[in-house]
Subunit: 151 residues, 2 copies
DNA sequence: TTGAATTAGTTGCATAACTAACTATATGTC
DNA sequence: GACATATAGTTAGTTATGCAACTAATTCAA
């Protein structure tokens, strides 16, 4: 029943996800150093809007792995910063489409560059095969916990 | 210079660490379901104290990857719950030793079991070799960002 | 078509995160 | 011994997170 793949002493460091935390922290620092006054959480929303604008808050929650309350507050703050606006959908009045403003445009290029640069720092001396394995395993862990498993 | 190991579209899902977030969320849920009124953050502190009691706040910060302000609040809350006490060090009066109380003892066994059970859910169908690779890569990512690199 | 169930979003409450500025104690150097 | 520096911890301010309860709009079914 228990396959105990972890020694007890290692349990927490895995659950904690120290590495991804460190990456997020470094990226935040790099944004700040470059004079960008946005948080990485705000950036994560912009990132998805740059890929596809006018997403609903619901959809943004799914794509960024957040609940809808968190999205509500993130959009509140992005609106205060003048980077997005909420536009009520004409076909379904429950839905807010979240739309990028012109003020958000200049951020796209510089934040992508800083994010790529940060990933390059983080991934120094790590092979493509290793990265593929990590991505694949993390996805399966995520799926294990979010899709009911019928084994 | 840029080795761009990530396609742009994949950047965020990696930085976000969705899998570790999902594991933490599931563990929190399992604690709640079992009637345990502690957060996983609080548990992470208890976890290290069970391994070695009477650690300083500083040391707890290092072992749980948190800054000292965060540790101050976590210990505040654990003290309110009656699970730990702060005891001033006799040899260095700047230091608080954080000590487990008797009330914390009964939590050790049950939280370990739930954590192990959660990890087993999360790691279904993932091989030991894959787990080793992930742990190894995440550690190297962490080291890349925290130790100055002289290449 | 009316009433139940579902969906999208907001709000209140509690916890937690980071930065920066602060206090207090300890250390090290002249 | 005295002053500069470093270390341990606290506090204030802002942002973010999750859950649960709520409103409003939509859909489904009798």
């Amino acid at each position: 029943m228990s396959n105990n793949q972890f020694k007890r002493g290692e349990l927490y460091s895995v659950i904690n996800g120290m590495a991804t935390t460190a990456v997020a922290r470094r990226l935040q620092k790099n944004y700040r150093t470059a004079g960008l006054e946005i948080t990485i959480e705000q950036w994560s929303v912009l990132y998805h809007l740059w890929k596809e604008d006018e997403l609903s808050q619901q959809e943004l929650g799914i794509r960024t792995f957040r609940d809808k309350a968190s999205i509500t507050r993130l959009i509140d703050n992005l609106e205060k910063l003048g980077l997005v606006t909420r536009v009520a959908s004409t076909t379904d009045r429950r839905i807010n489409k979240v739309c990028l403003t012109d003020a958000a445009k200049p951020l796209q290029q510089i934040t992508y560059e800083l994010a790529n640069q940060t990933m390059n720092e983080a991934l120094q001396n790590i092979s493509k095969e290793e990265i593929e394995t990590v991505k694949n395993v993390l996805q399966r862990v995520y799926d294990n916990l979010t899709h009911p498993n019928l084994i």
